[in-house]
Amino acid sequence: MAAITCTCVNGVRSLILGRYIGRTILRTPKPVITDCPVRNLKRWERPYMLYLEKQRKKHERKFGPPPPKPRSEHSDLPWNYDSELYAFARRLGEEINEETLRAAFTHPSFVAGEIEKRKELELDVELDMQDNEELSHIGIEFISEYIKSYLRHVYPNFPDDGINATKDHLTSVEVSSHIASHLGVADLIKYPVFPFPEDVVQKTFFAVVGALLQSQGPDRTGLFVRDFFLPQLMGKDINDCWELLDPMGLLVETLQQQGKEPPQPRLIRQTGSSTLVAMYIVGIYSDKQLIGSAPGSSILEAEDQATRVALKNIFGTNPEKSPPLPIDGPIGQYLHASIVKQLKGGDNSERVAVSD
């Protein structure tokens, strides 16, 4: 079916009803028609479409929206799993070993389900299916190491707790399954229940990364992680990933370690102190130098905020003052190369196999 945009004068909208999408026609002075079976809309067609749409909406209002269907059942065309797998790898621009990729998408409970079925049918229980348990562990380890190494390079003064918290956020179920769904991983998963739970999608995604690592090595896999995980940090304050319960304690410790004077909070400005909407600006000073200031609705809140700003300034993770993440460009490329070198040098067991 060719996809044609409709710009007809009478504003007929193409109804989302299966294959009728392709039937609408351009009615501009220079129409461009590509393999469309019908030249014009018949007089009865529009009222019929509207009637069908009305029936569908009535059904939906009465019985709720239709249950979600797996991608393989979305259209009447036959679903070829093998070609979909191949297309998936090519779409990502990677060459992955077919068997490894197949294993990456197979959940252990699917394998168990298949064995059960065979037992019931009294068939031979010897099943050649591999599951993605091991691959997902390999994948998550590599992803964690790459992300942590990247963040350490970009924010050298950021403590390990913060880096781990950011890594946890990026590899969390919500973020990973969001990335995975948009890459089309969710369509190829082999799992007994549909719709797939988010942690299954996450596990499969990590297994895909593991499969890529086994096929191509840490260089290409590192680029993959860099291109899909790290942009999730854009526009996000990475300090928010880290839940700090005692910022003042941490600030005192950090300044002590750096050999600087302990922090002294001072009230810089205040307005409307006797009103309900009072505003106080507190500044934190170390050796009479201002290291951070922030407003707040009470003195305590302003002090807390100012301490957090001071910590951000010391760690170099203040979004207002630090440059954007160097994901691409010459800096990004150099950064990637040094991370891969570090990963290779630090942990040689990561590299399991060279590409086929």
Binding site: T271, P295, R308
Partner: protein
Amino acid sequence: MASRAAQQWGTFARVWYLLDANQQPPGRIAAMVSPILQGKHKPIYHPLSDVGDHVVIINTRKIAFSGEKWDRKIYYHHTGYPRGFSATKAKDVHLIDPTKIVHKAIYGMLPKTLTRRTMMQRLHLIPGQTIPEDIKANIVEQIVAPREIPKRLDQYTQEELENFPKLWHPVEDPDLR
């Protein structure tokens, strides 16, 4: 950069200004105060946003009209009832209520919308020097008064008078006249 909530609180906080009206012309005070009550000095200004600040004006009793306005300027008022028209000179109005002239001047310079009354509620006029404690606690900034107060002759020190540059020196010998 503080959290979004703290930043927002700081952006939209209302500031309390102080202005000393001693020896100041009420019209020029009004011209300075009116944009502050509206919030026009802020980049987040919008007429419907209610972002105006508070202004506390002290010493309104000491305002100084230029020229002969105390005698010539008439404040007209009609109560709406028959025989309700009155015309009062500025000096009489000032005697009755020492804040009324400044109040009327500012009220006339604000936009004639429904938000005007709200802005006037944020204007605090004090005839004398003593500010109530709760208002005093809120004040954060001072507005520079528009008129530079000239010094009286008796306010100059003896050295200043002696060192003042003279055009000519009076002759000592009376015979030369």
